[in-house]
Amino acid sequence: MKFGVVVFPGSNCDQDAYCAIRDVLGQPVEYIWHQDKDLHGVDCVILPGGFSYGDYLRTGAIARFSPVMEAVQKHAADGGYVIGICNGFQVLCEAHLLPGALVTNNGLKFICEYVDLKVENTKTPWTNQCKSGDVLSIPIAHHGGRYVCDADVLADLEASGQVILRYCDAAGDANEAGNPNGSLNNIAGIVNKAGNVAGMMPHPERAVEDCLGSTDGIAIFRSLLEWTKR
């Protein structure tokens, strides 16, 4: 399975995602420059973390208009796999490939730390290697990661199993104490209706080696590999 990591000029987790795919997952991967209009035939596009175009306006607001995003839109519409991590999730929401928006954390501060995530729906391309109720330890690093959407969208997301990851406490309880940024319903990651597009604020590419503190992030990428073998 071939992966492509999009590089916006302000991306700063592009290399981390690239290394995770190449060195840990052992899959072919290449960079895709933000001005490229084609995706070099990759099967899965990763929109990495960072500050796409500086993000002084609103996170991801400019990135959605970049040439590469046209191609990503088309790729997603054709059923291709797309995952947005952190800033990539913000871009996907701005591009309306995922519903809702990510706004400033309720503490108004950047937060970088390991958090616990409860796996909600294990029947998606991104979570099928987890068991329902698994608690993953994966870091977050963001200033604007509070997931919000209107009540109808929220009800729809929940009803259709589009919430894949929720912030939780160590026991797996998705309560207020386990919610670092004030996200609605503790939402940390979602998929679109078809399941081929995912967005998550936590950084699975940072949790792929024991020496980094956790290997729980591998499950997200491994799930996709297993899914496409079916």
């Binding site: 000029p9 700063n12 500050f51 500086g54 501060k109 950047f110 080696e209 980094l212 503190g213």
Partner: protein, 757 residues
């Protein structure tokens, strides 16, 4: 004041500059006289501005240079090839680590967010202009006490500014220190450190060579911000300083991120002969320093400099300190290739001049020459002064302090709680949680331990980094205090398993023109240079900041050490947290502690409200033996945790190992001194380790081999920290309680009702 440039095409007919003008710019009458002597005529307005900024203490080190010659590498650089933006330490496998630390105190005092942010930006540029990819940021911060609302405002915004900049550029901020003392209330210390990795055969130089080669201006446009920032850094802070906000630059981390990527990519073309950051003193510094280093000259035209404001005079263009700009010397004819790389990243790179061979920096505005100065006179020949020194009076009182009269506390539990709650000792999680410390996915020891560590991809190795200084010790004895800063840095690295490799220093003092301050400076540098030679850690780069005082008080002498260590096997690193119930807790000491180790201690300050006595004795040979033993023990996989005893002594060290390990310990110590001294004294060269009982014989062999002292303290286990002194229980705290005190102390103080001004 409206000053017109001389209207002639040559510069000979310039009129004398009036004393009010050059004095306002920071030149003395003698220095102005020297300018006239060098030029053989009176300078133009632009020229006098260029001299004023390059000969300021900030750029020209006119007071510190004679003392800094004590540093071997500095002396060699001055006498030899000249100074680079930052120094390099060889870590083997053809790779080197470039590192440097720099203060941004005055800008941060008047505009904390941007002051701190641009401090990070400036230090990063020093790293990647060497061709090194920045892989780590650290910072050393000092403020007043947090019960003062203005201090909370400064602290909050300095941390936000560092986060704003560092997080965006994608360089992990992995460590440092934050200290709170009243003497920093009016003059905070904000030092930013960065380290980068470079292939040693690809190091870029800040050097202009090759007559006819092009001088390219790269990065952001030039505005009027920060004019005379370097001069501003060379005076004391006063009430008026608040009106100096326009001297503070505004940072754009996105531009910086583009500059990092574009510069590293452009250097790979091989067509860049030399490259220099334009920070303090802007284009003036960039042109004269590269020309001086290349034994060449340079001609530039200010009209070709991209600007963001109209009507800027040559003076303003040459002295602007707008951020995120670089000067590159590019092989003649290869400009298009270099320009293409910068254009790809959305940056402009324009030719503003060329290299000459006459040793002069010649500045044109179109056809008209507005400055013509020997490059070396600006860059290397700042007048130096040998200032008077005098031992400070306060030391008499400090040394007369009678420790025998100190009452023994009634409740050691309460003392420990107070110390863990003291802002300087308390966990800095509130701070580093705001910094992305994991990006680049190399961080193998996160912030919060003795030192942070990064694995070096493609090798088995890791590097460890630390920034450290105890200003109170330096206040009480700058020589010993500076040596302790070096020794403690080495000890912190040893606790991770890293052997010390090299040092960058970043020293802050009050007004050097006062003999008592200059005495502090000289003694501290003597201590530093001696200690660095002893530990075999060359000082590869450094920064001096003076005038850190307000009309009320000067700061403590604050010679901060940034130290790099190398761990041969990244998998064998060690952290401070107790790991397993049943492990044995052992204290390793370099030598037997002296009896009075409360001088300058956190205990003395927090419990008795005094900053007095003499700092603890530092025996560097003992320190080296201890560190070597611990490094070997960690490398052999014998110990599960290691943590040094520093602020707050043994009791605080034990508490921190318990809290971070979420497990208790049962400790019994035998002592022939008062319990307060045994628990909270800050004797140097002590490391608490925990290990499986089965490894004790192997550890004992190492202890014997290295000639150090080993003392069994107790066992890890349970959910409380219990410490008995000579058989009676002195401390008995649940780990949960002390964890709450230690971890949330700063957040509690910051989230008070008046956190924002």
């Amino acid at each position: 004041m409206a000053i017109t440039e001389p209207g002639s095409k040559t510069i000979e007919r310039t009129m004398p500059i009036s004393p009010e003008i050059y004095r306002e710019m920071g030149l003395t009458d003698e220095e102005y006289g020297k300018v006239v002597e060098v030029l053989g005529r009176h300078p133009s307005y632009t020229e006098v501005g260029m001299y004023a900024v390059m000969w300021s203490e900030h750029c020209g080190y006119k007071y510190s240079r004679p003392v800094l010659r004590l540093f071997k590498k500095y002396r060699e650089a001055l006498d030899g090839a000249g100074l680079e933006n930052a120094g390099v330490i060889d870590i083997g496998d053809g790779q080197g680590i470039v590192m440097k630390m720099e203060t941004h105190n005055h800008p941060s005092a008047v505009e904390p967010f941007q002051g701190a942010a641009t401090g990070v930006g400036g230090i990063l540029r020093d790293i990647f202009t060497m061709g090194a990819r920045p892989i780590a940021c650290l910072n050393s911060l000092r403020f007043g006490e947090l019960d003062d609302p203005h201090t909370r405002y400064l602290f909050e915004n300095v941390v936000s500014g560092i986060a704003f900049y560092g997080n965006c550029v994608g360089v992990p901020t992995i460590g440092g220190e934050v200290v709170f003392e009243d003497c920093y209330a009016g003059n905070c210390i904000v030092s930013a450190m960065s380290a980068g990795i470079v292939n040693t055969d690809e190091i870029a130089l800040a050097c202009a060579k090759g007559t006819g080669n092009s001088v390219m201006y790269v990065g952001s446009r030039t505005g009027r911000d920060g004019i005379h920032g370097a001069t501003f850094a060379s005076v004391e802070l006063t009430e008026e300083s608040e009106s100096r906000r326009s001297n503070v630059q505004v940072g754009d981390p996105f531009q910086e991120k583009l500059l990092i990527e574009a510069t590293l990519e452009a250097l790979k073309t091989g067509f860049i002969v030399g490259i220099q950051d334009m920070g303090a003193a802007g284009i003036t510094c960039g042109t004269c320093e590269t020309a001086a280093k290349g034994d060449s000259g340079m001609e530039v035209d200010v009209l070709k400099v991209p600007r963001r404001e109209q009507g800027m005079t040559p003076y303003e263009v040459m002295l602007s300190e707008s951020q995120e700009r670089m000067l590159a010397i590019v092989e003649k004819g290869r400009e298009p290739e270099v320009e293409a790389v910068f254009r790809k990243w959305g940056l402009q790179a324009v030719v503003i001049g060329h290299v000459t061979d006459d040793g002069l920096v010649r500045v044109f505005e179109g056809d008209e020459i507005v400055a013509e100065i020997p490059a070396k006179s600006l860059a290397d020949e700042a007048p130096t002064y040998y200032l008077e020194t005098e031992e400070p009076d306060y030391l008499i009182d400090a040394r007369a302090f009678d420790f025998a009269k100190l009452p023994e506390p009634g409740d050691y539990n309460e003392v420990l709680s107070k110390l863990l709650d003291a802002s300087t000792i308390a966990s800095k999680e509130w701070v580093y949680r705001q910094y992305d410390h994991m990006v680049q996915t190399n961080t193998v020891i996160m912030p919060g331990s003795d030192a942070a560590a990064l694995r070096i991809r493609g090798t088995k190795k890791a590097i460890a980094l630390v920034a450290d200084c105890n200003g109170r010790y330096c206040y009480l004895d700058p020589f010993v205090g500076a040596q302790i800063a070096v020794a403690e840095s080495a000890r912190n690295l040893a606790c991770t398993g890293a052997r010390p490799m090299g040092v960058t220093d970043c020293v802050s003092f009050g007004n050097p023109e006062k003999p008592q301050i200059f005495w502090q400076f000289r003694r501290a540098i003597e201590g530093l240079s001696e200690a660095c030679e002893f530990f075999g850690t060359p000082v590869i780069s450094g920064n001096v900041s003076f005038y850190n005082e307000t009309p009320e008080t000067a700061i403590y002498p604050t010679p901060v050490i940034g130290m790099l260590g190398l761990i041969d096997d990244a998998e064998k690193h060690c952290t401070m947290d107790f790991k397993a119930a049943g492990d044995t807790v052992v204290m390793l000491s370099g030598r037997k502690a002296e009896e009075n180790v409360l001088g300058g201690s956190e205990y003395l300050k927090v419990i008795h409200g005094a900053v007095a006595g003499a700092p603890p004795v530092i025996d560097m040979a003992a320190e080296k033996r201890l560190d070597s033993c611990v490094i070997e023990a960690i490398g052999a996989g014998l110990v599960n945790s290691a943590h040094d005893c520093s602020d707050g002594g043994l009791a605080v060290a034990l508490a921190e190992s318990c809290i971070s390990g979420k497990i208790g310990a049962d400790i019994a110590i035998a002592s022939d001194v008062a319990a307060s001294v045994a628990l909270f004294g800050e004797a140097q060269s002590r490391i608490v380790v925990s290990l499986a009982e089965a490894n004790i014989p192997e550890l004992a062999k190492l202890v014997y081999k290295h000639g150090i002292i080993c003392e069994r303290l107790g066992k890890v286990g349970g959910d409380a920290l219990r410490v008995a002194v000579n058989g009676s229980v002195a401390i008995d705290h649940s780990v949960e309680t002390i964890a709450d005190t230690w971890k949330n102390s700063i957040a509690r103080k910051m989230e008070g009702p008046e956190s924002r001004e």
